[in-house]
Each structure stands twice: as C-alpha cells, then as structure tokens.
Amino acid sequence: MESFLSRYRNPLVLLAVVLAQMVLIAVQVRRPVKGTDGRQTRLARYGVVSVISPVERAFLFTGHGIVNSWHDYLDLRQVRAQNRELQAELSRIRVEEASLAEDARQNGRLQKLFAFQQHYVASTVAAHVIGTSGTDLSRVLYLDKGSADGLRTDMPVITPDGVVGKLRDVFPHSSQLLEINDPTSGLGVILTESRLRGILRGTASGQTEIIDILPDEHIRPGEPLVTSGGDEIFPRGLPVGTVDRVINDPARNPYVAILIRPAVNLSRLDEVLVITQTSDTIPTTMQQDMATSEQKAADILAQRLPGAIAPPATGPDGKAQPPVDVNAPPPPVRPPASLHPDRYTPGATPPAAQLTPGAPYSTQTFAPPTAASPVAPASEAKAGSAAKKIPAEKRSSTPPAGTVEIHTKPKRSAADSNGATPAEEPRN
C-alpha cells in the first residue's frame, strides 16, 4: 500500500485536488442562495478583488492623468470652435426638449388615468470601469464604487447611449457589473415598432439575442428596442439597441432568434452611471430642466423668427399684463400692418357712397391711409352704419399683446370671386 501511494503519489494528488474542486463547483451550483454567492465564496472573491482592484485603480488613474494632460493641451486648441458647435447643438436640443415636454406631461396624465406606474431615473452615481474578469466566458466588469458610495446589488447600470448591465456583487469600495451580453444575464425588452416583448440574453460568444420568437413576427433590421420594465430592475424606456438580424434557432425549432446590436459599445467602456434611485414622478431636476428648456426655446425662436412669436405682454405703463385666458375664444385673425399702405391695403377703400362713378382714382376725395392710421378718419366719419359697428380696437391691424399672429391670405373680393383672374388684378 505504501509503495502504491509513493509510486502514484503525483497522479493521486492531482486526482484529489481536481475532485475537491469538482465538489466545490457542485456545492456552489446547487446552493440556492438568494442574490449572488455563498458566504465562503464571497469571502474568496472579496479577498482577490481587494488585492487586484487597488492596483487596477492606481493604474487607471495614473494612465488617465498622463493621457488627460496631453488631451487637455490638444483640446484647448479646439475648444472655441467646439464651444460654438455645442452652443448650437444645445439650442437645438432645448427646442426639441421643449416640444417634447408637453408630450411628456400628457403621457404622465394618461398614465395616471390608467393607473400605470412609470419609473423615472431619480438619482445616479457615476463610476469608472477599472477592470474586467479577464476571460471571455464571464462578461463582468469592475467599477471603482461600492457599497460605501450607496451602491447595492441588482442596481441597473447605464451610459447616455443605453443599458450596460446590472450590479451583481458589491464590495465596500468596488463592485462587479454583469454586462447584458453575458450568457447568465436577462433583460426584459420591447421592440418599439412591432411592440414585441422578449428577454434579451447574452451568448457565449458575447452577442446579445432575443430567443423563442415565432417566425411569423414582422421584425425588420434596424428596429430599436428599449427596456420594458418587466424585470423590475431597469426602468421602462431605456434604449437597449437595435435589431441586427433574425436567424433560425436550431436548438429551439421552430422558433427564431433576433440578434441585437447593443446601443452601447460594451467592449469600450470608461464611465458608467449606476441608477441608485427611481421614482414614479418626474424628478424635480428634470422638471426644472424642462421649464428652462421651454423658456430658452421661446427665446431662441424669438431670436431666429421675430415674426413668429409676439412680444411679451406689457401694458401701457410697462407692467406685465395678466396671462391670456386660454379658454377664451381666439381673437379674429387680421392681416398685419403694412409698411407702405396704398389703396389696396385692407381698410383703405372708402365706402361706395363717397366714390364718384367714372372719376379717376387720383380725383377721389378721400384721404389715403397712413401707417399711423391705416383707415382714413374722414372716410370713417362718413361711413355707413356697418362701418360704425366695428369696434375701434378691432380695426387696428396690430394684434393684441400676448397672442401669436397668424399670417393668412386676405379674402378675395366679390369681384375676384366673380371671375376676375390674377392677370386682371391691378398691380401696384
């Protein structure tokens, strides 16, 4: 027996070590622990992460420091042009956001009506990616923030482009992020156009796909998909990616699989946002931003299109007028005041009683209109009862303050409607 052990000592040691690890794997796979790992394995992971993470963090920030110094110098040379571009883009986005704000409010009202609870992102924590798992079989990343920064297990992680994954394990000063392209991840998604729902999963090769889809579904490449909120981890409506192509799934015949191109480049992540809190109302900061955008959008439009927006409502004493009642009937639409009034200017034609039949225009005895008083007072004094019924403020061609002026074609006269062609119309 002793000779057998000494003779086969090496393979026996190998066998014992391999068997011990098999048992270890079996225990970990079998144990139904809520959350992530058992206490012992978590301790082992924590020990290794505690050794590796500080080095990774130091490397990252040293490297960032050097690279940033060089980039700062280069950026300084382009900052003015870039600033102009950003200002223009910001203006455009402000206008867009203002136009969307009302839709968002209406959406909120409708959701309340249907008792649907929408979750908005209320607060986030920015984190740097400091490391990977080191193997393609495990698509996890390490972040430089942990439970000390308010992070918890299962918190969703995003970038401005879209969804990245969720926190799988959180240590005091670092955390493990499971990416959406890992085979063990799952994410409830909805296709925005076909309204098809599914679960997004990762594959062993690092792709993302939705499986168990019937082949008769009408899905076209390029269709975007967003989070459905059904997994109770990710808020609804975050961008996830677009449909790449639909392929046959031989493992699950007759179903097909939809390959998804993630909105985020998962292999090149530097900074991410961890959603630490969601709420069922629009956050205050977002409301303030929407209000700012609406105000800025009005200013931008007023600058670019001075005629499209009326000046702010002020009274004769310069004080602000009370807001216009939106329920009141709209004022009649009137053409704007002309800069150079002539006989064709609306309101300039005298009543028929004042005109002499057959006399040329130059010999008519009414006063031509002026910019200050478009309608001649003389003709007004002698006008018939119909003219007297028109209130003075309605005869003014200047629209009331606080209203938007709409430019319309003037109505055609009776002569025009009786067959006068544009060629026959008098010209100035």
Binding site: R9, N10, P11, V13, L14, V17, V18, Q21, M22, L24, I25, A26, Q28, V29, T36, T41, A44, R45, G47, V48, V49, V51, I52, V55, E56, F59, L60, V129, I130, G131, T132, S133, G134, T135, D136, L137, S138, V140, Y142, R168, D169, Q176, L178, D182, P183, T184, A204, S205, A251, S267, R268, L269
Partner: protein, 171 residues
C-alpha cells in the same frame, strides 16, 4: 530512477519567493486590466502561460498542480462563475507541463512553441467539457477561434518565457 532524479535536480530552476508571488499576481492583474484598453487581449491567457512556465521550470508535478490551483482560483474569483473552473484546468495543465518538463528539453523555443500550442488547445477542451458536463451550460466550440487562440498564446508564450528566464536564480 536515480538518473532521472539527478537530471531533474540538475535542470530544476529556482526562483525567489517574491517572483513566485509577484509574477502570477501581475499576470492576473494584466489579464483583468488590459482588455479594457485592448479588447482583443481577451484572446490571450497570461495566467495559464505563467502556470505552464513555472511548472516546466520546477519540474515537480505536485508543485505544478498546486501552482495551477492557486492561480486558477484567483482567476475564478474575478469572474462571476463558480470557483474551481479555472482551478481544475490549471491544475491539470500544471501537472502535465511539469511531467513533460522531466522528459524533454523545454528551453528550446521551438519546443516551447509546440508545447504552449498543445496546452492551450487542451485547456480549451477542458473548459468546454467543464461547462457542458459539470455546469450544464451550452458553450459552442469554434475550431478556427480555438486554433487562432492557441497560436497567439503560443507565440506570446515564447516571448514571455524568454523574459521569465531572466528571473531565474543562479545556482
């Protein structure tokens, strides 16, 4: 047997304790950090190459087994997978590398290239077996990908082994 032992003692290389601790840790660190900057670096498996190197240098199958166990568990701890997957793979590779180191000249670059190529392919086979048989997970096998991975690792291994040779302690 006596001849083999004397040859083994003659060709057994020694390293300082710091080297035996720092080099594996550095390999695990680089393996975790470099894919952030170079996404294709995931194709390389530095810790396995380090296991193979120290196993063939020490020429002790038991030492190679435990060396593979420790590095494999550290690798596993950085993933979200059960501890022991890389441990098993590295144990077996360390054992085999040390056993080969007793029989052939592993200082020759050509031999190192072939040895690394074969060990990397074997590591991939073991990995797929563990995933499919032990964990019940579906992992596909792509021949071309595994061949490219083995070739790349074999080439990097030759360079890495030459660098690590400089850390040997002189008798």
């Amino acid at each position: 047997m006596a001849m083999q032992s004397s040859r083994r003692e003659m060709e057994e290389h020694h390293f300082s304790l710091w080297t035996l601790i720092a080099v594996p840790l550095l390999s695990v660190f680089l393996q975790a950090y470099l894919p952030l900057r170079f996404p294709h670096f995931g194709l390389v498996d530095l810790p396995v190459l380090v296991v193979i190197y120290f196993a063939v240098s020490r020429r002790s199958p038991i030492a190679g087994t435990f060396f593979g166990l420790v590095i494999g568990i550290i690798q596993d701890a950085l993933t979200h997978l059960p501890l022991g997957i890389h441990g098993i793979i590295n144990c077996i590779l360390g054992y085999l590398a040390a056993s080969i180191g007793l029989r052939i000249d592993v200082d020759n670059p050509g031999t190192r290239l072939m040895m690394n190529f074969v060990f990397m392919l074997l590591g991939s086979v073991l990995q797929v077996l563990i995933f499919r048989r032990l964990l019940g997970m579906h992992v596909e096998w792509f021949w071309l990908h595994e061949l490219i991975r083995a070739v790349v690792n074999a080439l990097i291994g030759v360079i890495l082994f030459a660098l690590l040779d400089r850390l040997r302690q002189r008798e």
